[in-house]
Symmetry: C2
Subunit: 154 residues, 2 copies
DNA sequence: CGAATAAAGTTGTACTGTACAAGTAGCAGG
DNA sequence: CCTGCTACTTGTACAGTACAACTTTATTCG
């Protein structure tokens, strides 16, 4: 295995570690403030960023099954965080958008996240944060392209 | 919210997205080659990198409950991927180490990962990979420090 | 137009990964 | 030795996910 391969294996390890750490602190934060389930919050954040969308779009965007999104929307809708209106051109579909209350909740959550970030990455300058974010975004885009392009590679 | 805060929120989003994408492609890869469950593989990789350890150490390292590790070790042990030997100085504990077969399996998995990486990040030069990896590792270290330091922040 | 087919969502079921709680076995200090 | 502590195991619960069956609406084609 070449050293370039090693670097890629390390990348994978760090990614997985980041997932687990994120899970750990999200769960911790969630216990302090059990307002909204973490995965549903992700969906809400998605809606805030990209605007209204249909469930199937949301599922594709996140590479999860439609049924998952469907249930999360049900939760969010019951909590008043999103509005669903029937799609004007398609009676089967609905269009989901974040509600005012959803925005407030999201703001609260973000404040909590930022507080944690401040503690964890307090000594990172903005450039460093931006650099990591940019690289991650690039990686995610490339991974999405591969997953989306050929969903079932042989 | 300042733009610096925005950057940190984006970082969070990209991290979460990375987790989900990773989940998606790991599951895909796992279906192609259902040798070993993904989380157990992570543990195996940990053992390969850091050497033998006791279950409680493994749990602390990954910030998961001891019970989780205990079950994963059972799986791995049943599959012959790890060896457990009683801790010489403590009859309650055992010491877990990766077995030869575990190393082989890990090698196979890594090859699969690298194949995917090659497809997804084929045009990344080594420096770029290294940079992202380094930054991620730094972040993980900082997050670990906070999580480990005060497990239940008020 | 009407029947067949496809598509969008919903709901039922199963399984993984995780946490928490209760139990078991070995250790350590009095 | 008894009491309490520690390392682990096992039971249970729940989130998050996937897959499959079903319902309702669109679309296509004879």
């Amino acid at each position: 295995m070449s050293s370039a391969d090693d670097a890629r294996v390390e990348l994978m390890r760090e990614l997985k570690a980041a997932s687990q750490l994120q899970h750990a602190w999200i769960m911790q934060a969630w216990q302090d403030d059990p307002g909204l389930h973490p995965a549903a919050a992700m969906l809400l954040s998605d809606l805030a960023k990209h605007g209204e969308a249909r469930p199937s779009e949301l599922a594709k965007r996140r590479f999860v099954d439609l049924s998952v999104v469907s249930r999360q929307i049900s939760q969010l809708s019951a909590a008043g965080m999103v509005d669903r209106r029937p799609a004007p051109e398609d009676g089967r579909a609905s269009i989901i958008s974040i509600s005012e209350r959803g925005r407030e909740e999201l703001g609260r959550r973000r404040a909590g996240y930022l507080k944690f970030m401040e503690r964890a990455l307090g000594d990172w300058d903005d450039e460093k944060v931006l650099e990591l974010t940019t690289r991650l975004a690039e990686m995610n885009a490339d991974v999405r392209a591969v997953l989306g392009g050929r969903t079932c590679p042989v």
